[in-house]
């Protein structure tokens, strides 16, 4: 076999770098949507590589629900400092205070869906014409239909039945004033690819991904962390468990799994043996069969 081929991880990396460079070339004011989760961290790492030796040319935008893990915010601030990048924060609390959105009520209330308004407001206010996300097609069936360059109309909406065809590696980011694009450089990566890449590249990630002791409550098949926002149901009991998080979202909806994996190597091994999908621990996706599709249509990440 000739040596002139790339292994799968190098090919995925090269594809993502190509997409990031296309975004930079085709848009005026692109940002990276940064959640503090592993996927947006990997995208940020790839952006650093894509433009080296130049500095990362994108601002990072964080939609702050106010229901964060403190560890995520600290990680975000450290990374911003290290990159010398600009941070834009869209605040869900501000959207609530301004009456743009209303807080959900009840025990299962979350701010997950409220983020859509804050995100679209921040995109408009900052004149952003492309928001780069860490979404992957393997995550969920609506995401399996996403393009690398995904059009959003002037209401920020996604029309999955009327998407632009995307052939070869020719990306069409042309748009009218007020519309924007979402770009997904790691579309073709799986959860396993992301972990293998984090391991290979030695990328730092928030401590929440590693096994640690935490006070948690058993709810909808996963360990929900105790926080000031958690309302205990009758019969629910706070216990201390050694857990880690497989994905990071709001502290109110992100469930942990019991685990002893405290290094990236151990996590990668654990993920390879997992028999549950990664978003199985996210109550935001469990609301209905098309929960993700419905949110995405409205402008969700």
């Amino acid at each position: 076999m000739s040596k002139y081929y790339l292994n799968y991880l190098d090919e995925l990396e090269s594809e993502a770098i190509f997409v990031l460079r296309e975004v930079w070339a085709q848009f005026e004011n692109p940002v990276i949507l940064f959640s503090g989760g592993k996927d947006s961290i990997v995208v940020t790492h790839l952006a650093r590589k894509a433009f080296y030796p130049s500095k990362i040319p994108f601002s990072l935008m964080h939609v702050d629900t106010g229901h964060n893990f403190p560890e995520t915010i600290q990680f975000r601030d450290n990374l911003i400092k290290e990159l010398g990048a600009n941070l834009i924060v869209g605040s869900v609390q501000e959207s609530i205070d301004q009456g743009r959105v209303a807080e959900e009520k009840g025990k299962n209330a979350t701010r997950n869906a409220l983020q859509i308004t804050t995100l679209l407001d921040a995109i408009e206010a900052n004149k952003i014409d492309c928001a780069i996300g860490g979404g992957r097609r393997d995550e969920e069936k609506a995401r399996a239909k996403e393009r690398f360059f995904s059009h959003r109309d002037d209401f920020g909406q996604w029309d999955p039945k009327n998407q632009r065809p995307e052939l070869w590696n020719i990306f069409n980011g042309k748009h009218f004033e007020g519309e924007h694009f979402r770009a997904f450089p790691i579309s073709n990566w799986t959860e396993m690819d992301v972990w293998n890449y984090i391991k290979r590249e030695n990328i730092s990630i928030p401590s929440l991904y590693f096994a640690h002791e935490r006070e948690v409550v058993w709810r909808s098949n996963s360990w929900i962390p105790k926080s000031e926002f958690l309302i205990l149901d009758e019969g629910e009991e706070v216990v201390t468990k050694k857990i880690r998080f497989r994905t990071l979202g709001d502290i109110t909806i992100t469930g942990g799994i019991e685990s002893d994996a405290d290094t990236v190597e151990k996590i990668a091994t654990e993920v390879a043996a997992m028999r549950q999908t990664e978003r199985g621990n996210r109550s935001d996706d469990k609301r209905s069969e098309s929960a993700m599709e419905d949110r995405k249509r409205e402008g969700y990440f």
Partner: protein, 417 residues
């Protein structure tokens, strides 16, 4: 997974009736790529719908409308990994009204899987799928003769279909065709070897996908480097740095190579090939790198760096096989934006030479309207030269899309003849 494992992209065209969804479900299920919570969801849906056992086809369900109507409308991408390779499936609908989606899925594929129902043999749809695979120059075709269980696993039925297919594919430009008799429903010859067809000596589908040689599919001769952007860091350490960022489309570039920048024609030598990890001595497709040159020349996005002794054609008049992708038909003499590698120009469709009836594969020189799903040979004139190779030689520098400036939609995809 081993570090040197490759990525293989394949496309499957077909409708539910061919067993396409069942085949994909079977590949994912038997290669243990399906998670328990997905399986539970499918089990409960299967029960609700009154199916016996688990309906593997439900794994490929997509958007709400598709679930409700029980059809695939758009391309969906699916992923699985074995100890030998990582796979990306472009799962596309097979009906004639979705030709554009098949073309889309085929554009990046190394392999096309064409499903033939063993009871029906080669039908119009098979011909169409084979034609699209050859038009898009997918390097390898695997014809899966499915539902062998319904023809008593008959070798004769299989042989008949093989010769039917060979009689149509011999007229097309396909390099590597293989045939596998399978039953997606029962799993015969998908992941595991069939116990019912001892007469078949070849490998099951998955083993074929895992082992077929794909690294020579990429053109390694014609060195082409479309410039995506220019890197000019504003830092002390890199004050005079001027790097041309891009991804190698084909061929191999080495430090010290004599290169020409097109379309300007300026020549220079490669001073360095840089990555985040440091300098490399050579770059080949599909590596993303940044190239610096010995001389200061004016280079920007849309230019192409090539080796001086092997240049593409720079032309404003190009002939392409064009697939129309949009609901709105082509407007006569209308201007479009043509996108070719990193180069955008204005273009006009000057002439429709002929249209292909994709069921009979006959040429029609009378009907010149370009409507959705039509495939035609056309002549295009651009305002500035494009640096093109024929699509047959080079899938990256031989492909274009057309964008309608009044809607910004991608309306056509073309392959340079």
């Amino acid at each position: 997974m081993l570090d040197n494992n490759q990525l293989l992209r394949f496309t499957t065209a077909g409708s539910v009736d061919d067993g396409k969804s069942t085949l994909i479900g079977r590949l994912l299920y038997d290669s243990k790529s399906i998670f328990e919570d997905q399986l539970e969801a499918i089990e409960s849906t299967s029960k609700k719908k009154g199916h016996e056992g688990v309906d593997l086809a439900l794994f490929t369900d997509g958007l709400r409308d598709e679930r409700e109507q029980g059809i695939t409308i758009d391309v969906a991408y699916r992923y699985f990994t074995t100890p030998k390779r990582k796979f990306i499936i472009a799962d596309t609908p097979g009906h004639i009204q979705y030709t554009r989606n098949m073309v889309t899925g085929a554009s990046t594929a190394n392999v096309a899987i064409i499903l033939v129902d063993a009871r029906h043999g080669v039908i119009e749809q098979t011909k169409r799928h084979a034609f699209i695979a050859s038009l898009l120059q997918i390097p390898h075709i695997i014809v899966c003769i499915n539902k062998m269980d319904l023809v008593d696993f008959s070798e004769e039925a299989y042989n008949n279909i093989v010769s039917q297919f060979e009689s149509i594919s011999s007229k097309m430009l396909v390099k590597d065709v293989r045939f596998i008799p399978i039953s997606a429903l029962l799993g015969d010859n998908v992941v595991n070897r069939s116990e019912h067809m001892s007469w078949y000596q070849g490998a099951p589908l998955l083993h074929t996908l895992e082992t077929m040689h794909i690294s020579s599919d990429v053109n390694k001769v014609d060195a082409r480097f479309p410039v995506q952007s220019v890197l000019r860091p504003q830092s002390e350490d890199f004050r005079d740095y001027r790097g041309y960022a891009g991804r190698v489309a084909s061929g191999i570039f080495r430090k010290g190579d004599e290169v020409t920048v097109m379309p300007s024609g300026f020549t220079s030598k490669i001073k360095s090939i840089d990555t985040f990890e440091g300098e490399v001595n050579e770059a080949y497709a599909p590596m993303s790198v940044s190239i610096t040159l010995e001389d200061d020349i004016d280079i920007s996005r849309g230019d192409m760096i090539v080796r001086s002794n092997n240049k593409p054609e720079a032309s404003q008049d190009i002939e392409v096989m064009l697939c129309w992708l949009n609901n709105n038909p082509a407007k006569p003499r209308a201007k479009y934006t043509i996108k070719h590698t990193s180069n955008d120009q204005k273009a006009m469709i000057k002439e429709v030479v002929y249209k292909i009836d994709i069921n009979t594969l006959e040429r029609n020189s009378e009907d010149k309207d370009l409507k959705m799903n039509d495939i035609s040979k056309v002549k295009i004139r651009t305002t500035k030269p494009l640096m093109i190779d024929s699509y047959r030689e080079n899938r990256t520098t031989g492909s274009i899309i057309l964008v309608d400036d009044t809607t910004n939609e991608t309306v056509a995809a073309g392959m340079v003849v």
